[in-house]
Amino acid sequence: MTNDGVLRLGFAARFIALTLAHSGTSFVRFGLVIRELYFTGVLSLIIILVSGLFVGMVLGFQGFHTLQTYGSESALGVLVALSLVRELGPVVSALLFASRAGSAMTAEIGLMKATEQLSAMEMMAVDPISRVVAPRFWAGFISMPLLAAMFSAMGVFGGYLVGVVLIGVDEGSFWSQMQSAVDFREDILNGVIKSVVFGFAITWIALFEGYDAPPTAEGVSGATTRTVVTSSLAVLGLDFVLTSFMFRGI
C-alpha cells in the first residue's frame, strides 16, 4: 500500500519532468496551447466570474455586519480587497478550476488512453507527451493566474455593489482606505504567486491521474474523482505552506 503510493509519487515526478522536457513543441506550435486555453480558460470563465461576484457580495454583507459593531464600516473595502486578493481569490478559483478544468483534463486523457489513442500516436511516432500532455499543462499554468485575478477583481466589484450601492458605505473611504491598505508587492503579487503554484499543482495532478488511469470505464471515473479530491487537498495544503512563508507576521 505504502509502497504503491511511493511508486506513484516517483512516477508522477518523472512524468512532470518529462512533460517539462518535452514542452518545446507546445511553444513551436503555440496553436495547440491556444486550443487548450480555450477549453481550460475560456470555458471556466462563467463559473469563475459568477462565483467571484457572489463571494464578494457575501463578503460585503458579512464584513459590514461585523465591522459595524466596531463603528468602522468604512474599512469594508480593506476587508473585502485583502481577503480576496490574499486568500479567497487564489484558493477558491483554484478549487473551482480543479473541479471544472482539472476533472475534464483527467477524463479526456484517461479516455484517450482507454481507447488506445495514445498508443496509436506512439505507433505513428508522435510523442503523446509533447502532443497531448504538454499543451494542456501550459494552458492550465497560464490560465490559472488570469482566472484568479478575474475572480478577485469581480469579488471587489461585488463587495462594492453591496457595500456602497446597496448599504451605503461612503464611496470615497471605501476606495481610499482599500488603496492605502493593499500593497502591490505584499498582497497582489503574493496572490499571483499563489495562483501560479496552484495552477502548476492542479494541472500536474490532473494530467498525471489521466495518464496513469487504468484503461477501463471504472478506472477513468476513479481517476477523475481522485483528481478533484487530491488537487483540492493539495491546494489547501500548499496555501497553508505559502501563507506561512509570505505572512509570518513580522
Partner: protein, 153 residues
C-alpha cells in the same frame, strides 16, 4: 474563432490584474517619485513597521524604509524615505504616533524654525518615542503611591 475567444480571455485576465494593481492596490504610491533618506533614533518605536507612512500635518510625505536596532546607543534606528519635493528644517521633530485608537503606527514630522533644511542621510535630533501603555500605567501607579505617602505625613 477559438483564437478570438482566447485573446479576449487573456486580455480580460491581464486587465483584471491591472485593475487590481491600480484601483485596488496603490502600486507603491511613492514608488515613482524621487526620495531622500533621513534617519531618526527612538528610545521605543512601539509597533512601527517598514512601509508605515511618514506624515506631516496629516499629509503622507514618505515611508519608513527599515527599522534596525542601534547596538551602540541601545535605541531603535528608523530609516525613512521622504519625497524630494518636501523639505524640512534641521530642527524638525519626529514622533511615533498612532492613527485612531487602535490604528497602525506612523511617524509624524513637525517642522521647526531653522532656515537650513535636512538633506540626504541626515539624522533628526529631536524625537519622541511611542507611548507604551504599561509605562503609562506604571507612572500613574507610582504617582498615586507618592500621593498616598504625602497624605500620611
Amino acid at each position: 474563432m477559438l483564437d478570438l475567444w482566447v485573446g479576449i480571455f487573456v486580455c480580460a485576465g491581464i486587465g483584471a490584474l491591472l485593475i487590481l494593481a491600480l484601483k485596488v492596490g496603490n502600486m507603491g504610491g511613492l514608488g515613482g517619485s524621487d526620495t531622500y533618506r533621513l534617519y531618526a533614533r527612538f528610545d521605543n518605536i512601539g509597533g512601527l513597521k517598514p512601509r508605515a507612512p511618514v506624515k506631516s500635518a496629516g499629509v503622507v510625505v514618505g515611508r519608513v524604509e527599515e527599522v534596525t536596532f542601534d547596538n551602540d546607543r541601545f535605541v531603535a534606528k528608523v530609516a525613512m524615505n521622504i519625497e524630494t519635493r518636501y523639505k524640512f528644517p534641521k530642527d524638525t521633530t519626529a514622533s511615533v504616533l498612532t492613527s485612531g485608537l487602535l490604528g497602525e503606527q506612523y511617524i509624524g514630522l513637525e517642522g521647526g524654525g531653522d532656515t537650513a533644511v535636512l538633506a540626504e542621510g541626515d539624522s533628526l535630533k529631536l524625537t519622541q518615542s511611542a507611548v507604551v501603555l504599561e509605562k503609562l500605567i506604571g507612572q500613574f501607579l507610582y504617582s498615586k503611591a507618592a500621593e498616598g505617602g504625602d497624605d500620611k505625613k
